[in-house]
Symmetry: C2
Subunit: 318 residues, 2 copies
C-alpha cells in the first residue's frame, strides 16, 4: 500500500473537499451525451451521422454545458461509454471535454469503471490518472471485482499527482443486489466487504487530511445502504449517482453526507443535460435556450440538495 507521503501534496479527497467548500454544493453534472436527445439547435448539425460528425457535436454540446455549469459546481463526471461508442473521434472529443473542464477549474471524475490486474491496471492508470495521461482526469471510477490489490496501480500512479479513484460499492441499478447484496457466512454482504477495503484504502491515503484518495460509488436508489455505508467509510468520499432521472431525491441522498454537509457528491446527468425537454424548463426556455434550461436545472438541484440534505451547512461556512 502506498501510504500518504509529504511529497505527495494533498490527497484527492482534500482537493475535492476544497472544491466543494468553494462552490458550496455537492451537486455535480454527468456528461452523458446522447445523439437523439440533443437540443434541436444542435441536432440539426447531425448532418450525416458519421462518428466524426457526432463526436464533434458531443464535444460542442459538452463544452457548452461546461460553460454554464463551470461556475456552479465543483466537478463533472463524463461517461466514457458514450465517447467510446464513436471510436477514435469520440475519444478525441472526450480528451477535449476533459481538458476544457479542467481549464474552467472543474474537477473531472471520469466514469469508465475500469479494473484489471497488474501491469494492465497500470496501463489504465496511465491512460486516465497520471498528469501527462492522454485523458488526464482527477479521478476514475473503478470496479472492485478483481480484488483490492488491483486498485493499487491506480493509487500508486495517480496518488502522487493528487488524483483519486471511486470504487463501485453499491450500484444504483435494480438488480445490483444479485452479487453485491449476497450475504456472506460471516453475516456481512459482499458490498460491505468491499466498503471495508475502500475505508482501509481511504484511511491509508489520507495523511493528515480528513478524506483519502479512494472514494466509493453508492447509488441514490438505495438510501438505507447509503446511510450504513456513510458510517462504515468515514475517510471516503461517496459519489452518489441516480439523482433525478433514475428516481433518487434529496431525501434519498441525505444520509450520504457527514453532519457538516461534506463527504458526498450527488451526480445528475440526463436530469440536467436534457432539462430543456422537461417541464417547467421546456415551457420557459424551449430548445433555443437549452443552456438556460441546463443552468436552471442545476440551480434547482443545488437548492433542492441545500433544502433537503446536510449540504445546507456548506452555505453557512464563512
Amino acid at each position: 500500500m502506498v501510504e500518504h507521503s509529504e511529497s505527495a501534496g494533498c490527497p484527492f479527497g482534500e482537493r475535492l473537499l476544497r472544491a466543494v467548500l468553494d462552490r458550496r454544493t455537492p451537486a455535480i453534472v454527468g456528461l452523458d451525451p446522447r445523439a437523439n436527445e440533443l437540443p434541436g439547435v444542435l441536432r440539426h448539425e447531425l448532418q450525416n451521422g458519421s462518428h466524426l460528425n457526432t463526436a464533434r457535436l458531443y464535444q460542442k454540446f459538452c463544452c457548452e454545458v461546461l460553460d454554464v455549469v463551470g461556475p456552479l459546481v465543483p466537478a463533472v463526471k463524463p461517461q466514457a461509454a458514450f465517447f467510446e461508442e464513436l471510436g477514435p473521434p469520440g475519444m478525441a472529443a472526450l480528451q477535449e471535454v476533459i481538458r476544457y473542464a479542467r481549464h474552467l477549474g472543474l474537477l473531472v471524475i471520469l466514469d469508465a469503471k475500469r479494473g484489471d490486474i497488474g501491469s494492465t491496471a497500470k496501463a489504465y492508470a496511465r491512460a486516465y490518472l497520471v498528469p501527462d495521461a492522454p485523458f488526464a482526469a482527477d479521478a476514475l471510477t473503478v470496479n472492485p471485482y478483481l480484488g483490492p490489490q488491483t486498485w493499487q496501480p491506480f493509487i500508486e500512479e495517480g496518488c502522487a499527482a493528487g488524483n483519486g479513484i471511486f470504487v463501485l460499492v453499491k450500484t444504483s441499478n435494480p438488480d445490483s443486489g444479485v452479487f453485491q447484496d449476497a450475504c456472506l457466512r460471516q453475516g456481512k454482504a459482499v458490498y460491505q466487504l468491499v466498503a471495508e477495503a475502500v475505508q482501509q484504502s481511504a484511511e491509508r491515503t489520507r495523511g493528515p487530511f480528513r478524506y483519502g484518495s479512494v472514494g466509493a460509488v453508492v447509488g441514490a436508489t438505495y438510501p438505507q445502504q447509503l446511510a450504513e455505508l456513510r458510517q462504515a467509510m468515514p475517510a471516503a468520499w461517496i459519489l452518489i449517482p441516480g439523482y433525478g432521472a433514475q428516481g433518487g431525491t434529496a431525501q434519498d441522498v441525505a444520509a450520504g453526507f457527514q453532519e457538516d454537509g461534506t463527504g458526498a457528491l450527488v451526480n445528475a446527468a440526463r436530469h440536467v443535460l436534457f432539462a430543456y425537454q422537461r417541464s417547467p424548463y421546456r415551457e420557459k426556455y424551449g430548445e433555443m435556450d437549452w443552456q438556460r434550461a441546463v443552468e436552471n436545472a442545476v440551480r434547482d438541484m443545488i437548492e433542492d440538495l441545500a433544502a433537503g440534505t446536510p449540504a445546507r451547512r456548506l452555505r453557512s461556512t464563512p
Copy 2:
C-alpha cells in the same frame, strides 16, 4: 433475456467451436503490446516516444504478430488498456489491429472488462459488439459486479450478429479471492454465484447448439476452481488467461476442457509476443527474427496443450 432465435444465425459459442475445430487447438494469442519490450528492430523506430509514434509501432507489431499466428490459432485477444494508454491514436491502432485480425479470419476477443448499467452498457455494446461498431470485435470481456441484468444489453446488441461476451468469474491474480472467494451463507462462494448466472445466460443463448453466446473467464492459476467451474457451466466456453508468463501450465488448464477437448480457450500474451527475449528462442532467433520466435513459441504452446490436455482430441477429429 434474449433467447436464441432462428434469425440470429449461429451463436458465438458455435462460431468459436468451428474456429477451434478448424485450427485444432485451443491456444489463442493475447495482443498486449508494451513499448519497452518490443524487439529492438522495432524499438529503434520509437523515435520521440509520442503517443502517435508509439501507436503506429503497436499497430505494426501486432499486425506482424497476426501475420505469423493467423494460420495457427482460432482467435486473438487484444488488451484494450495498452491502446487506451496512448489516447486517440492508440484507439485508432486498436481499430486497425481488430480489422486486420478479422481480415485474416481470426476471431477477436477484446479484453476490455467493461460493465455498466442500462443505456451505458448499450453504448459499450455499440462501441465493441455490433457489426458496424468502431471497434467491432467478435466478443468482449465483461465484469459481473453490477449484476447479470447489466450483461443483457451486450447480449441483445451483440447476439443477433453472432457475437458474445466472456464474464469474469474467477480471475488469475493472487488476490482475486478477496471478493470472488468470499463464502456466502448458502455455502457457495461469490464466483460460484456468478458462474450460475453465466451458465443460465449461456443456456438461454445456445439455441440448438452446444455452447451459447456467454462464456466465462477463469484463471489458469486456479486449477481446482477451473475443474469445478467446467462442471458448473456446461454451455459456456471458458477463456483461461494466465498460461505461461503468469505461471499456468498445460496441467493447470487441463481441467478446463470438456472430454472431447472443446470448451476452453487458453491465452498466452507476453509468453508468445516477447518470446525472442527468452531461452531457447533468444539463442535461436534473437531480435532480428522475432517473428520466428513468436511462431515457434505458439507452435510449442499448441504442442504443449495437445500433449497435456484433452485438446489432443482436436487433432484426431477427421
